[in-house]
């Protein structure tokens, strides 16, 4: 029987930058425990600059917990995190202006209009020429028809686009997206993915994406980190994972890992 740790070590790692600039995200020995409950255990990975990396795993695998620790919202039990070269959470105030985040689990004030919400965030991020920036985002994300409507009165698709506008307001170098297309119809989800691709192509930002949509991951991600029960169990490019598991789509790879059906060498689990 092959050793899981050896297989993981043999899996292709995320490419390190050649320019000498620190990686966008560097995580070493990261753990989070709530008493007896282990949410994340000894996690280590690197996300190079200008890459889109997906964080995959079943519910409760530790994706949101990991993101929360990367953002400084949650204190790790142990381990180190460096974001854009800064040690977290100590250096969070140096890097937070250069990153942004969106999640379906976090909202904007419901009674404020879309425009008011974006104005507040443009001020919080000290965005130069906020009017022009908001106008550009409104045009790019098709928000113009409801800029003066309260956020709480928008449809799920409209809210997701507004949350993405908020996440892009400071044109972040590092964008953390937790399920950016959850509960959206295929058309709206496709538009959001198109916006993200265009943004990444234009700005060369680094994107860390947590998603349950395997089609989305195949389309957007250069590299995939597979989590299970708080541990990193495999990683590689979507093409590499498909080849190693002998599958045609990432959903099958996901199920192989989630259900222990098949090992990374393509053999069936005992």
């Amino acid at each position: 029987m092959l050793d899981d740790a050896k297989l993981l070590a043999a899996a292709p790692q995320e490419a390190m930058p050649l320019s000498g600039e620190p990686p966008a995200i560097l995580v070493e020995g990261l753990s989070k425990r709530y008493g007896e409950v282990v949410a994340v255990e000894d996690l280590g990975f690197t996300v190079g600059r200008r890459r889109t990396v997906a964080l995959l795993g079943p519910n409760g695998a530790g994706k949101t917990t990991t993101m929360a620790m990367l953002l400084g919202l949650l204190a790790p039990t142990s381990g180190t995190i460096r974001i854009l070269g800064e040690l977290m959470p100590k250096g969070r105030h140096k890097v937070l202006p250069r990153m942004n985040f969106t999640s379906p689990y976090v909202d904007l004030p419901q009674r404020l209009t879309v425009l008011q919400n974006l104005k507040v965030y443009a001020e919080l991020y000290a965005v130069p020429r906020p009017k022009e920036r908001i106008a550009a985002l409104a045009a790019a994300l098709d928000l113009e028809g409801f800029l003066n409507r309260p956020f709480g009165r928008l449809s799920a698709g409209q809210k997701t686009r507004v949350l993405l506008a908020k996440a892009l307001i400071n044109e972040p170098e590092l964008l953390l997206l937790d399920e950016p297309t959850a509960s959206l119809d295929p058309d709206t989800a496709d538009q959001i993915r198109g916006h993200l691709e265009a943004y990444q192509a234009r700005t060369h930002a680094t994107v860390l994406l947590a998603s349950h949509n395997m089609g989305e991951v195949e389309r957007l991600a250069h590299h995939v980190l597979m989590l299970k029960q708080g541990r990193l169990v495999d990683q590689g490019s979507p093409a590499d994972l498909l080849a190693r598991y002998g599958r045609d789509d990432l959903e099958e790879v996901f199920l192989d890992i989630a259900r222990d059906r098949r090992r990374p060498d393509g053999r069936e689990s005992a």
Binding site: L73, Y105, D107, L112, V120, E123, Y125, N170, E171
Partner: protein, 274 residues
């Protein structure tokens, strides 16, 4: 390169202004919210105005200082509304499931607190200021006329004490979630009997007077009565109120920081909401 401005050290006025803007949009966009700010202080002022009118012919003490109840109720409302203003700012973020976005933005917790203090100050100016102005035509009572320049230090102590209590409640709400929501409305009434708002501290049973002296509000109300009844400003009493206030402010800051750190350890900043 992101569009955000360079790294700053210390509080940023722009970020404080952003949070102020967030609450002013909410407040000015809703006339029921504005009305609510003035409604309760005005109702209290009218109630105590009529009580004063009733008692003034029956009590020589009230006749001697007819503004004693109206001054007391308006100063008490400064404390209550000051505390409520701070607590409600935090509750608004919890109701909106918004804290996660705020705490991953460059906004620092101290800036959020300063912005909430400013919002609280504006709410008190509208609410208590409005009720004080209405007292002039209704009862021919002017708070400034009654207390003179001493109104400013009394107002400041009550406001700062309200902020200290509001900060402790905000920390509890961050740590315990909306289950602690009722504290925002009810907690301050625990100290009201010991604050000696409408009667001297000597009226309290001797066994609990020590507690009254642990509150900066009690010496302020004693000082207020010294002005209205004896026509003198008791500097010693006011100095004592400042000392106790300083201790409360330090304790509130420490409690808030500890509760905030605990909330961050437990992942409550992201999961906040109903």
């Amino acid at each position: 390169m992101s569009l955000a401005a360079g790294i700053e050290f210390g509080p940023s006025l722009r970020r404080i202004r952003a949070m102020l803007l967030r609450h002013l949009y909410l407040l000015l966009g809703s006339w029921p919210r504005l009305l609510d700010l003035v409604y309760w202080p005005t109702v209290q002022m009218i109630l105590w105005g009529f009580i004063t009118q009733f008692l003034v012919g029956r009590s020589s003490w009230v006749a001697q200082a007819s503004g004693v109840f109206l001054s007391a109720v308006l100063l008490w409302d400064t404390l209550f509304r000051g505390q409520l203003g701070v607590s409600l700012c935090f509750l608004e973020e919890l109701y909106a499931r918004h804290l996660g976005h705020l705490f991953v933005s460059p906004l620092r917790p101290a800036e959020l607190v300063l912005a909430n203090f400013t919002v609280s100050f504006i709410r008190v100016l509208i609410g208590v200021g409005g009720a004080s102005l209405l007292a002039v035509p209704i009862f021919h009572f002017s708070l400034i006329g009654a207390l003179g320049w001493a109104l400013i230090p009394f107002f400041a102590v009550m406001m700062l004490f309200g902020w200290a209590i509001g900060l402790i409640i905000a920390g509890l709400v961050l740590r315990l979630g909306l289950g602690a929501e009722n504290l925002a409305w009810a907690a301050i009434f625990f100290i009201q009997p010991f604050s000696a708002v409408y009667y001297p501290i000597a009226t309290l049973p001797e066994a609990v007077r020590w507690f009254a002296w642990m509150l900066p509000s009690a010496p302020v109300f004693e000082g207020m009565r010294a002005i209205l009844v004896e026509n003198r400003f008791d500097a010693g009493l006011f100095g004592y109120a400042l000392l106790i206030l300083a201790l409360w402010l330090i304790a509130a800051a420490v409690v808030f920081i500890l509760l905030f750190q605990s909330a961050r350890r437990r992942g409550l900043l992201l999961q906040s909401g109903e």
